[in-house]
Amino acid sequence: MSMFPHTFLFGKIKPKRARKSLIGDSVFKNLTAIFALSVLVLALAIFYELYSRSQLSINEFGLDFLTGVEWDPVDQIFGALPFIYGTVTSSIIALIIAVPISLGIATYLSELAPKRLRSPLSFMVELLAAVPSVVYGLWGLFVMVPWIRDVLQPFLESTLGFLPFFQGPKFGIGMLSGGVILAIMIIPTISAVSREVMLAVPDTQREAAFALGATRWETIKTAVLRYAATGIFGAIMLGLGRALGETMAVIMVIGNRPQISLSFFEPAYTMSGVIASEYIEATQDLYLSSLIEIGLLLFIVTLMMNIIARLLVWRTMRKFRGAKE
């Protein structure tokens, strides 16, 4: 018998308890690993399914699918370029409008607004992100489109009409409306995330600038926006992701005509838009397969955007945070 009865007594229990918790640990670890892996499996499965189901159209059109401007279900000729153009251009218009406004909102909410106003205003902004897109579309169609037709388009034509983007018939419905509605929809996302990022900037940064005699604007520019740049960039990418994939609201205001026109007043069509509005009538195999290939392209475009964004963030991080982090 041991000199210390408690070691003798607990000696037998201890390993058992340890083993039990070890088993629990490993079960927990493997279970969470499976959950995490399932995301990857799902993404790969979606990719595989899109790829295999678009074989018909890939074999038929090859790379011409990417450059083809014809979309003719009757003659069975399908080209995706008008949709790629519509998606990318409407998203770029949306970013051009939304980024400055969102940064203004985020700056006001995190730096300038009186304390009492900050929480309610921020809450309102976040609330906007939760409005269903079909509601935005409805509002866009009945309120925004007439306004764009009667006010914005004549104004743009008279001021910037020398550019090819702002010429042509003024329907209201078209690329411009698609871009504006997207901008309105991504402003809450970009401003809410940017605000969070700016709030995370340590006060010592602001103090450093103020203590050198910088004004509020110089402080925000140097200490806050610069410090938060990578995070703000991430917020913009999040907004872009939403703009690229947004379907319903855009369908309702963009006109849905597969064409490539420099004029933003002309109707256009987006990738997600064509899938959503035509899959039900795509009865022929090649038609359906072409729609699925557009889905595949949208998947790839979104993925590429995210990879590029990550790389950019990673590069700036490395440059400014030093090698340690």
Partner: protein, 275 residues
Amino acid sequence: MIDRASLYDMKIEDLQPLEEAGVVEKEKIRIRGLNVWFSKKQVLQDLNFGIMNNSITAIMGPSGCGKTTFIRALNRMNDLIDTCRTKGEVLLDGVNIYGNGVDVFELRKRVGMVFQKPNPFPKSIFENVAFGLRVHNMANGQRLKEEVEQALREAVLWDEVKDRLNESALRLSGGQQQRLCIARALAVKPEVILFDEPCSALDPTATAKVEDLIRRLGENYTVVIVTHNMQQAARVSDMTAFLYLGKLVEYGSTRDIFTNPRNELTEKYITGRFG
């Protein structure tokens, strides 16, 4: 010359002629009836004393005694806190910095500040030092480069960073970052430099370097340093003020305070019986 500390009860109006005649040391800052509140809590109570020109004044006291609030009253950094209210006067070269028509941005250029934790901007080393010069339109082109170099030399950092001025400041070590922050403050040619516990985040070697630097700066600048480290106050400063619960307990030459404190509280504090 008469030791200024022995005259600290005298009115500034009476002292100014003596200063000009060179009979007493010149005072850079005079604090008169300074009270500071955060919301309803009074943090500083009726402070009255003067800070000598081109000397190092240490503000010492236990945590929560109002040291940091005091030093931040000298360049009006407390203005940034919504709940803060200040009463009384702080005269810089005889002009009240809380008076009407004072340009607070100009004031902060004259009264530089270095913080507890090194806080360089996430920019290059060069741009960090150039920031203040750019903000105040003080130099550009070749002049800017020269001014940056001079500030870095003054902060004894130039030799360590001269080949990597375009690297991110965040790659520097903690001690180097703090000296960079000092260079950044020096670049705009301040008259007064405030140090708010500048070594509390540094290791002993880096601390020694920064302390050396502060001692050297005391020859050309009016330095005010807040510290809870008594040895540091004893090592670097010419004058020491001891604050306790928002009140000035004792103020005098550092030697007197540490060898022959007049107040019982001061004695207890420096002998380590509380704090």
